[in-house]
């Protein structure tokens, strides 16, 4: 194990400044500084506020990660950074810092995909990833189903949200219920006191015309939509308020959550079954959701799919996931990204690492 490469990874795509250090599949440090509290009053991440916070946190976070891992910067074999997808100004802080470290140390730098890193992090909690792997990523910015043929060079996007991300839907619904930000944890908690069947909220993109059949798939077979659900919740709440009735908040929370989780788990399992994926990895901040874990586990069990859920600190945005993916990439012999690459706020999952613009 000790001859596995020592990698330092930097993440700054959203509101977490993360620096992680891994040796192969062994986690040595995972230091995260978040600007979440500064976004609370806006009910969502403000890019400029996040970017300012990244700059303030970058060097202290680096220092702390190195201290935690008990290594010096010079011991590191390679550096890695999120080049996208994410918020442009936020990404730029991490990329500038990572490039500077590469110039200063002469170490190779790998620009990696944030989403694929959410999958790659799996190696840090449970070891090597199995073949025939699918991934379900659910966070404040993403809701995606991926097919992982090779973590380092073959990832396919099977489905994604066409509007809001699931975590975003939680945050918006929490806001209209007056529950504050972030919405996920509160709704998760309140839902336990409510009835998930009390209100039948819509399951986005679940009609036959969107889903089709395995043989003749509809246009949105594995895609998600949560903005209609959010509107339905808003209507429901307005109707109660118009009649001067007290909104049954716990039932609304539980029923909203059931609608989200039902459609996510159903489509993920369907994608696995239809694409020969016998293993599924769940990642992203919403992986913390108790009902999502429970229902996904049950549905995976029935379908004979083995489910892996890394521990929560590895599911939310962090630098260890960037380092973990890069460790796999380095081991696969992929060339580093050089110093000339740009951030790519819309980087597609098929672009796992950026290649060196100046290499032949």
């Amino acid at each position: 194990m000790s001859d596995a490469p020592l990698i330092l990874g930097i993440e700054s795509s959203c509101d977490e400044t993360g620096v992680g250090i891994v040796r192969g599949t062994e986690l040595l440090a995972n230091t995260v500084s978040t600007s979440m509290e500064q976004h609370v009053r806006f009910g969502g991440v403000i890019p400029e506020i996040a970017s300012r916070a990244h700059l303030e946190a970058m060097v202290p976070t680096l220092q702390q990660a190195l201290d935690t891992a008990g290594v010096a910067l010079d011991d590191v074999d390679a550096l890695a950074v999120t080049s996208g997808p994410g918020l442009s100004g936020a990404l730029m802080v991490g990329v500038a810092a990572a490039k500077a470290l590469a110039v200063a140390t002469g170490k190779p730098l790998y620009a990696v995909n944030h989403l694929v890193a959410h999958v790659g992090v799996g190696v840090l909690d449970g070891g090597e990833l199995p073949d025939r792997l699918g991934a379900l990523l659910v966070s404040g910015g993403h809701t995606e189903i991926l097919k992982i043929d090779s973590l380092t060079d073959d990832v396919e996007l099977l489905g994604a949200t066409i509007d809001d991300a699931a975590g975003e839907a939680y945050d918006k619904v929490a806001r209209l219920l007056g529950l504050g930000y972030p919405g996920g944890p509160v709704i998760d908690r309140l839902a336990k006191e409510g009835d998930g069947k009390a209100i039948r909220f819509p399951r986005g993109l679940s009609l036959p015309k969107f889903v089709g059949t395995a043989e003749a798939p509809g246009k949105h077979r594995y895609d998600f939509s949560f903005s209609g659900l959010k509107t339905a919740v808003a209507r429901f709440v307005e109707q109660y308020q118009a009649k001067g009735l007290e909104v049954p908040v716990a039932d609304v929370a539980a029923s909203f959550q059931e609608a989200v989780v039902d459609v996510i788990t159903k489509k993920a399992v369907m994608a696995c079954t239809e694409h020969g994926m016998e293993n599924l990895l769940l990642g992203g901040g919403v992986a913390a959701n108790s009902r999502l874990r429970q229902l996904l586990q049950a549905r995976c069990d029935s379908a004979g799919i083995s489910l892996r859920i890394p521990k929560p600190s590895l599911c939310t945005d962090n630098g260890a996931m960037i380092a973990a993916l890069a460790a796999q990439v380095v081991a696969a012999g992929v060339a580093p990204s050089g110093l000339g690459f740009a951030t790519d706020p819309g980087q597609p999952v098929t672009q796992i690492t950026l290649s060196d613009l100046h290499a032949a």
Binding site: I49, M58, G89, V93, A104, H142, L339, F341
Partner: protein, 240 residues
């Protein structure tokens, strides 16, 4: 003071970097310098340029005595690239990093008549206090007031172009809103109304401050404006 080797970085307008040697007698010598031609590729070009500069000069990072970085004011995203770069370099090399107001670079060029290539067009040296102004968009400028010898006397500020002090104005901000300047009793100085902050001049300005026994600044951005707090359309582009 003994001779010092300084890496200067400024990204308040263009991505720029320079390696400067400050001699005992107060003279500064620019060993290498880089200024990007693109205006919006700071994160792409700055680090390779710094690597190139050091290689050209045959200098290892650890040999630097300090790094100075422009703290702005200037467009936020680009500005942060310079600061993040300087801070991370300083961290890795264990070299102290200090901040300098980016407008000081222009003031230094003007006060020392170190203007190229259109400096030939300057009619006469400026002998009174002058204003350095650069574009802050929204019909505003970032500006600061300097004495004829290039010392900061007021600012930096951000505000409407018609609110700058009366008198001569230099820097790219001087050429943008001539009517507003006139209303303020100010006027652009021909030949000096296109200047943007550059690392080589910033390094020289830093040396000037140190020689005068003045402290440099903490290397954190001078934003001068609050963050624009609109709730975003929640990162839709991220999945497409």
């Amino acid at each position: 003071m003994v001779s010092m080797l300084i890496l200067a970085v400024d990204t308040s307008a263009l991505a720029t970097a320079a390696l400067v040697r400050a001699h005992d007698d107060g003279r500064t010598e620019v060993l290498e310098s880089f200024a990007a031609t693109e205006t919006n590729a700071h994160a792409e070009v700055l680090a390779p340029a710094i690597g190139g500069i050091l290689e050209q000069a045959g200098v290892a990072g650890g040999q630097l005595d300090r790094i100075v970085v422009g703290v702005g004011p200037g467009p936020f995203t680009g500005l942060r690239v310079g600061l993040a770069t300087a801070q991370a370099l300083g961290f890795a090399w264990q070299v102290p990093v200090d901040g300098v107001v980016s407008l000081d670079a222009i003031a230094w060029q003007v006060a020392h008549r170190a203007v190229e290539p259109d400096g030939a067009g300057i009619a006469a040296p400026i002998t009174e206090d002058f204003t350095v102004a650069i574009d802050a968009r929204r019909r505003e400028v970032y500006w600061a007031r300097y004495s004829a010898d290039g010392r900061l006397v007021d600012g930096p500020h951000v505000g409407a172009a018609d609110q700058v002090p009366a008198g001569p104005v230099v820097g790219i901000g001087a050429s943008l809103y001539p009517d507003a300047l006139e209303a303020a009793g100010a006027h652009a100085v021909p030949g000096l109304d296109r200047l943007q902050p550059q690392a080589a001049a910033l390094g020289a300005a830093a040396v000037g401050l140190l020689h005068a026994g003045e402290a440099l600044r903490t290397p954190v951005p001078l934003y001068l404006r609050e963050a624009d707090a609109k709730v975003p359309q929640a990162m839709k582009g991220r999945t497409a």
